[in-house]
């Protein structure tokens, strides 16, 4: 049996421990904000936080989730309390189709903890989520804006 928390709530799982966390979140927990994009940790659409660090949940088997605290996009913020990254994303109108954006936001929220004042090169080298709509231009602006918000500026 695997015991863990998701967005602060206790969960248990007794099924196939090979199953990636992604499918538990989407089908068992009904948290569909985390998306499937590739299944091999190449695109990042499935990004969640485990112990505060971004992980690609398509490649985290349930066996590895025991004792972990998971945060999904639904737990990062909501309409009454947006996370700074979510706020910047909405203000800069980043999303086009939107399917990759939960993963983008989760990855950036984690990235900004390590790089609170990122350069464009830091972003290039560390943010590897795929956006098929190529919304990268506004995304770059939003990352800098979110970083400024988190530093208490603007």
């Amino acid at each position: 049996m695997v015991k863990f928390t998701v967005n602060g709530e206790a969960h248990t799982f007794e099924g196939d421990e090979d199953m990636p966390l992604l499918w538990y979140l989407r089908e068992d927990a009904k948290l569909t904000g985390t998306k499937f994009g590739c299944g091999i940790a190449q695109c990042g659409a499935c990004t969640v936080h485990m112990g505060g660090i971004a992980q690609r949940s398509c490649s985290v088997p349930m066996a590895a989730v025991d004792g972990e605290d998971i945060v999904t996009i639904e737990g990062l913020g909501d309409q009454d309390r947006l996370h700074a990254v979510q706020r910047a994303w909405v203000e800069e109108d980043v999303a086009q189709c939107g399917f990759c954006q939960s993963g983008q936001i989760m990855a950036v929220a984690s990235f900004l903890k390590d790089f609170p004042n990122p350069t464009d090169d830091d972003i290039d080298e560390n943010h590897t989520n795929l956006c098929r709509c190529a919304s990268y231009a506004r995304m770059r602006i939003a990352i800098h804006k979110a970083a400024a918000y988190l530093r208490g500026e603007a």
Partner: protein, 745 residues
Amino acid sequence: MGNLDRRQFLKVTAAAGALVISSPSFSFAQNGSKDRYRNLDTNLGFYLKIDTNNMVTIGYSVPDDGTGVNTALPMLVAEELDVDFDNVSVEKLPPLYKENDGSNPRGGDAPYINQTYKGHPIHQSTGGSQSIRRSYEMLRMAGAEARERLKQAAADDLGVNISSLNTDNGYVISGNQKMSYGSLVEKAAIVTLTAEPKLKSPDEYKIIGTDQPQKVAGDIAIGAQKYAMDMELPGMLNAVIARCPHADGLVKSYDDTEALKVPGVRHVVRVNRIPEDISEQKYIADGVAVIADSHWAALKGREALEIEWDKGRWADVDNAWIDRNFDKVIAEGKTNVRLEHGDFDKAFAEAEKTLEVAYDQPYWAHATMETPCGIVDVKSDKVTVIAGNQTAVRVMNDLMRVLPGYTHDQFDVTLMRIGSGFGRKFIVDACTEAAVLSKAVGKPIKVIWTREDDLEQDFYNPKGRHMFKGGLDKNGKLVAANYFHCSTDNDFATHAFPAHHVPNYRGEVIDSKVLPSGPWRGPTENVAGYAMQSFVDEMAHLAGKDPLQFRIDMFKDAGDTPAPGFSSDIMEADRFINVLQIAAKNLGWGKELPKGHGMGIASFMTFGGYAACAVEVKVDSDGSLTIINASGAADPGIAINPQGCRAQIESGTLDGFSAALGQAIELEEGRVINNNFDTYQMARIGTSPHMLTSEVVRNHIDPKGLGEMSLPPAIPALCNAIFDACGVRIRKLPIADQLEKAMKA
């Protein structure tokens, strides 16, 4: 950018680790409410719901795959209706279709066609950059009719003539009296209008032409926006299908013993190729479906299947085979001349300087972010469908092929927001598979394609070789050009620049089909742009002229030229010159560049819209490439939502770069072998320029579209910049490691 600074009621507090903001102004879905995706409960025409507290909801009929129609189409209604767009909510309308009564000439013999409003078919298809063009007049009429009805209701109440009334932001005004739309809406629905509602002229617009953020942005940012892949029906089972990976191959035999032992697996069902005739392009692949309680169990069940494939007629095919086949077909010379004027052969023979050059480009996959998926529940008297497809009526029409005997009133179709389309989601294959399986096992079925399925079973953008002969006269003017396109599909950019801008021209095409193909972003233009604008660039360099001025001179000399297509009639020279100059200016064309830097420019018309791209790159001595800066300019006619227009310019530009840099389908034995993102290379933020300017021309010309426009010029602009930087001409896509190899040589 952004509306937050306009809000007075925003509270900002700092909290540990994150800035916490109350933001009630963004439009968020009712949490968990499925009704949001179902019928909009209109109370005033197809599109509108106005509550007694004056809250306005406007429905949009076109599925949104990221182009922004969820916001731009309601803007058209809101403009004429005269409401405060900040307070408008938007909702996706259900499909509005009727039995084919012959009233739509484009309907052909399909069972169902779009409903109409005052004789206009209600546009319900995203693709071809058509949404605004086909909705511009009709939606304004709908908004104007609603406005006049509200005024008539007020006039009746007040006992005055309607001509004495005005409207302002959701209120009918009569002298000092103000009546809210919400208080009038019930009566407005039943009044009789005695005059045809008048439409505003563009200089009266208050909403159209203003920057509006996406209404769905809030939902997307909190993970509340649903797509087809996120939906469920009660009692639903999950299906994953093993499809023959060899193009046009078949299942020879299979053993499902082990698959049926996997916990959660309920059924294994044979899926037959559609159409049966192997000589026709595949719609549904031949394969074996595993149906299980969960997607994961279905995946594991599929892994446990043992299948022997008949590799089919393309069992020897790889890209080298296709190239050799091109050689063969080209040598046979049986081309289809699509355009000819002057005397190319004579002019070429007499030219002062000539160039013969060929450009090769590979198959591209759509690789939509949301893989193909769909949910269908076939019951004896009802079919429930949840689809993420681009064209409303095609969902019904295509499903009818596998569900004969059902009538349109038995279909309950929900069209979801689409996790990218790019032309892939025109095809209703995932829902067709779900329908076949649901019929077979009597349960609701959700089919999800894996990424491997998606890249292996695509309807690819065609592979092609583009051959040019060009001749300059003694003044360096391009006087003779021949464009011969050998393609895996029957596409040709007949009227694209410079076809009508060269006095002696022959454009010809030959096709030699292999893999299934279908529309991709800017079909035909996306590769013709690369080829034709690289050719023009090479001729400019051969003439010793500035590539920008060379193009401008050709446009000036030729003036307006014919461009018949389903979105255009003519190609206006001034509009092309304008976007070229804007793109050039915003990049700083002509400024002195550091060593290793270069600039390139290109332009292209797609579906009646004009676009240009100018790019600055840096190529290091080891061949590593950096895209420093890019500027995209587009003229689609009147810009409804300039902020949304700029998004499409940005997107088209970066998408073009992504395709050019690394995308190419690789084949072995007629099967795609680079079937996930580790081997099919798509751009991340890291290869995109740090600087990108997008500018949409502001005018009042009737709109075309913008979704596809900016990609065709982006690819050649990048390649032209590379040539300017290091003298290496990209004659084959993808760029990949060509520069590294060239620098070593």
